[in-house]
């Protein structure tokens, strides 16, 4: 990143800090969420019921269309060639044989690619979402091992794949840094996240640590991870005059339209991105070079292009989670109270992305400590840009933090849950803000009772034949986020049908289902009368499916649009209505119309209001307020993760035999789809704990296992029945009383497994994944 960018980030960070202290001092009533969402009190509607997915039937029939499944006339199929050096120049590039191959329509390289701007780097402006900001086939320079150097279009995929194999490239390699140790030796820089420094100091933590009567101090390491959504990254593009039509697999359609527009010099409304179904995202389905290359090739060829990356291609050009080295040190008094909490370390990053895996995020708000020191340093590698992957920061940060807590509990001969409860903070430990809602103790209490935590033995004390059995526990935590940009349009017909339009996403989280439930309750209509339209950049709002924030972002946008609808309806209702004279805040949706909240007898149906006003429809659109609530309160979800493992004493094989997640995520909108989100996170966490690692050659920066055969993810046989439960205590300051549930499930799992492995074997593994060789 340039010095100018650093300076801009610093200014932004300082302004944000000033705003934060002003917002913290403002009265609650000025805040979004200062007045609880009336829907929190609704207990007899759809909200909270285990409704099956609204898109279930099309998915099980195989007729839901994903990005590569839009047949277009005169379609061409793309294949890519990737660089095999980390840095340097293309010396020779022979495309003659490919151009002469049967069915080939176009071979695109830096020699003939159209002139394009680099992708605007993610988070550098409101709608910027590029995974890197490098030139794309603009010259002969190579920036990472795996960068696309040629694209072939052909009449069929088989012809394109064959022609791509005929392209010969020679490189002049230049000195590159692909070894983490070497990168650290070159010096590190302090990490910044969302414009703010990750460094935090409160008191002299090192001195307090040295003086504490009890302490642990250890180093933990986590490898690279890949999202590995089963749907390969794919895009189908067509130029329609000066408009670019994009069928994408995207977590961010509005960002995509703006960012692609920036690349090609188009206004955002000249780029139409839709993404009705996404075959898994986990942070990986943003803007990477393949969408740009497909659009460029479609422009040159004058034909539609379908580009689906190979599995290897996904590893080559889509980044994943980066490597971390973390130190956690805790100093405690004899009663377990923390004197010092130190969480520092180094992550690898490329020069062309913005995410220094912020592993200290969970530590900011997890425990009270008299002193604290947090820091993330960045070492730079010439590798594919790393990026956001499910719970960036928390997923690997909780592994280190919650392992260290367990180590301290062992050292002090205390129950690890008791140790955690002794350090529960009263207010946010780093910002001082009050908690919006925090039921960590209840989550632990309920989870421990259900799991049978009290039956736990001392390390190495349980054995059945060859199998050593142990249990472990760890805290899960993830913040409530709501990003700016939420907006929604409501269309209400005379027949009481409600359509809500918002450029949001459903990648399987159950967004459309849960939001349809909420909308039905908010408007007082049946779910059959609700249509929730999403995944289209032409709809209102800029709503990313990331940061577990969609539930809140959509919720707040619909609250705003609903308020506008109520205002409009009251105006239309006029003086002849039972609602005459009522203020918008006093009424809500009920029984197919509006009613006074505290006197439902004062009611008029939508049909009646619209008929009297001689209207067939009412259409309103509104934007959500800025998310100031996240500065005013400390807003976080939590969970208590309980794990039982069986470790083979002979082979070191680890089997997870039981897992229970007890969550505090506010009100659960749909227990069926939320349970799937929790379990899904936990299962990805089991992968993180036991098997997942994107291996790369430190000599060349090349990923060595770009395949689902060699990058192991949990399969059916690895996944036991996973129990999930929740407090269901509504957060009074969020829409619907809910906090997002998409990412918290992966947090804490690594430590819960590692702590269980220690309880089973007496061996402390601080290096993920916990493969059997580490236990022999």
């Amino acid at each position: 990143m340039s010095i100018l960018e650093d300076a801009k980030q610093a200014v932004k960070g300082a302004a944000q800090a000033a705003l934060q202290s002003a917002v913290q001092m403002a009265p609650d009533s000025w805040m979004p969420g200062g007045r609880p969402d009336p829907l929190i009190r609704e207990r007899h509607g759809y909200t909270g019921r285990p409704v099956s997915r609204v898109d279930g039937a099309v998915k099980v029939r195989g007729v839901a269309p994903y990005a590569a499944e839009f047949p277009l006339d005169r379609m061409t199929y793309a294949a890519l060639v990737f660089s095999t050096v980390a840095k340097g120049r293309i010396a020779t590039l022979d495309t003659a044989a490919a151009e002469a191959a049967p069915g080939v329509v176009l071979v695109m390289t830096h020699r003939n690619a159209p002139r394009m701007q680099p992708m605007p780097l993610f988070m550098t402006s409101e709608k910027a979402c590029g995974g890197n900001d490098l030139p794309i086939m603009q010259d002969d320079r190579i920036y990472w091992n795996g960068e696309p150097v040629a694209l072939v279009l052909a009449e069929t995929q088989a012809q394109a794949d064959h022609a791509a194999s005929l392209i010969r490239v020679a490189y002049v390699a230049e000195a590159s840094v692909t070894d983490f140790g070497e990168a650290k030796a070159h010096g590190t820089e302090p990490g910044q996240f969302m414009g703010q420094p990750l460094r935090y100091d409160s008191g002299d933590a090192e001195a307090a640590l040295a003086a504490a009567p009890h302490r642990v101090d250890a180093r933990y390491t986590t490898p690279r991870h890949s999202h590995n959504a089963i749907e390969l990254h794919a895009v189908t593009v067509a130029w329609q005059g000066e408009t670019l039509r994009v069928h994408d697999a995207s977590q961010m359609v509005a960002h995509m339209a703006w960012s692609l527009g920036h690349v090609f010099g188009l206004a955002e409304d000249q780029v139409h991105v839709t993404s009705p179904f996404v075959g898994g995202g986990f942070g990986g389905k943003g803007l990477w070079q393949h969408q740009v290359l497909a659009a460029a090739a479609a422009k040159l060829a004058g034909r539609p292009v379908r580009l689906m990356l190979s599995r290897e291609g996904v590893y080559r050009i889509v980044g994943g989670r980066t490597v971390t080295e973390q130190r956690v040190a805790i100093g405690a008094q004899a009663d377990g109270g923390f004197d010092a909490l130190v969480h520092t370390g180094t992550v690898a990053m490329s020069h062309h992305n913005v995410l220094p895996e912020p592993f200290i995020l969970p530590t900011r708000s997890a425990y009270a400590s008299k002193t604290m020191k947090l820091d993330v340093e960045v070492a730079y590698l010439d590798m594919v840009a790393n990026t956001f992957m499910r719970a960036p920061g928390e997923a690997v940060g909780t592994f280190a933090l919650e392992s260290a807590i367990d180590e301290l509990a062992v050292a002090m001969d205390m129950d690890p849950i008791e140790l955690r409860m002794r350090n529960e903070p009263d207010t946010d430990p780093t910002t001082g803000a009050p908690f919006s809602s925090r039921e960590v103790e209840k989550a632990y209490r309920d989870g421990a009772a259900r799991f049978g935590w009290a039956q736990r033995g001392t390390p190495g004390s349980r054995r059945e034949g060859e199998w050593l059995i142990g249990t472990g526990v760890a805290t899960a935590t993830y913040p409530y986020y709501r990003m700016p940009g939420g907006a929604a349009r409501i269309t209400l017909t005379r027949h009481g049908h409600v359509t809500v339009d918002i450029a949001a996403h459903d990648m399987g989280m159950g967004t459309a289902t849960a939001q349809s439930q909420v909308i039905a309750d908010r408007l007082g209509v049946s779910m059959e009368q609700v249509t929730f339209r999403y995944g289209d950049s032409s709809l209102p709002g800029t709503v990313m499916a990331g940061g577990s924030q969609q539930t809140a972002a959509i919720g707040a946008a619909v609250v705003a649009a609903h308020r506008a609808l109520v205002t409009e309806l009251l105006k239309l209702a006029g003086n002849d209505s039972p609602l005459a004279g009522l203020d918008g805040d006093a009424v809500g949706g009920r029984d197919g119309g509006l009613a006074r909240l505290d006197d439902p007898a004062r009611h008029e149906s939508y049909a009646s209001i619209l008929a009297r006003a001689q209207r067939d429809t009412v259409v309103v659109e509104a934007s959500a307020p800025m998310p100031l609530e996240t500065m005013h309160w400390s807003m976080h979800s939590h969970g208590a993760m309980f794990c039982e493992v069986r470790v083979n004493a002979v082979t070191g094989e680890v089997r997870v035999s039981r897992f229970l997640g007890s969550f505090d995520c506010g009100r659960i909108l749909n227990p069926k789809t939320a349970a799937s989100q929790f379990r899904g996170g936990i299962i990805m966490g089991l992968g993180l704990a036991l098997m997942e690692e994107t291996q790369y050659d430190e000599r060349s920066g090349r990923i060595m296992n770009p395949s689902l055969a060699e990058y192991h993810v949990p399969v059916h046989m690895d996944v036991p029945a996973i129990e999930v439960m929740w407090t269901d205590v509504p957060d009074p300051h969020t829409p619907m009383g809910a906090r997002g549930v998409g990412e918290i499930g992966i947090t804490g799992v690594g430590a819960a497994v590692a702590n269980a492995v220690f309880n089973a074997t007496g061996k402390r593994i601080r290096d993920l994944p916990i493969t059997l060789d580490k236990l022999l």
Binding site: V60, G62, P65, A68, A158, R311, L708, A709
Partner: protein
């Protein structure tokens, strides 16, 4: 005997390199059969050939002359979902839905294997009748990856339809 897909006769491709998967998706536009790795590692492209499950990405289309292919689009009985499709919805055996067609086709093929008495790696007594408990099911379905983590729901859905109480009559039918 020509190649049939869901009962309809389909011409074989001229290009012998075309996989059965690409024939289904690109030529026939039967895109319910998914592509997740194109190397037989994920199971998303599972289809049934004369009732047996195969990964269609590792099958050349021209090899299937005379065979009957059933894809996810051919599993339901018109408007009526196959019991397994309905069970997947009921038990939330998917999130994104991308591995789902492969899971469903694979489970149907697996039930038939069970009906033929085929043992698996976890079968204890090779002489006894195999009972589809959760471990047998997990072992036999481990070739179908799911990244959303819907494993519990998938297992519940399959047991609901093919579990011990039901497996005999279902497979015999």
């Amino acid at each position: 005997m020509p190649l049939t897909v869901n009962g309809a006769t389909v011409p074989l491709p001229d290009d012998p390199r075309v996989s059965l998967l690409d024939l289904l998706r690109d030529t026939l536009h039967l895109s319910g059969t998914k592509i997740g790795c194109n190397q037989g590692a994920c199971g998303a492209c599972t289809v049934l050939v004369d009732g047996e499950r195969i990964v269609s990405c590792l099958a050349l289309a021209v090899q299937y002359d005379g065979r009957a292919v059933t894809t996810i689009e051919g599993i339901a009985d018109g408007e009526t979902l196959h019991p397994l499709q309905a069970a997947f919805i009921e038990h939330d055996g998917f999130q994104c839905g991308y591995c789902t067609p492969g899971q469903i086709c694979s489970a149907i093929g697996m039930a038939a294997e069970l009906g033929r008495g085929m043992p698996s790696h976890v079968t204890g007594d090779l002489a006894a009748t195999v009972v589809l408990d959760a471990d047998e099911l997990r072992e036999r379905m481990s070739g179908n990856l799911c990244r959303c983590g819907a494993h519990n729901g998938i297992v519940a859905a399959i047991l609901d339809v093919y579990g011990p109480a039901k497996v005999d009559q279902e497979v015999a039918a």
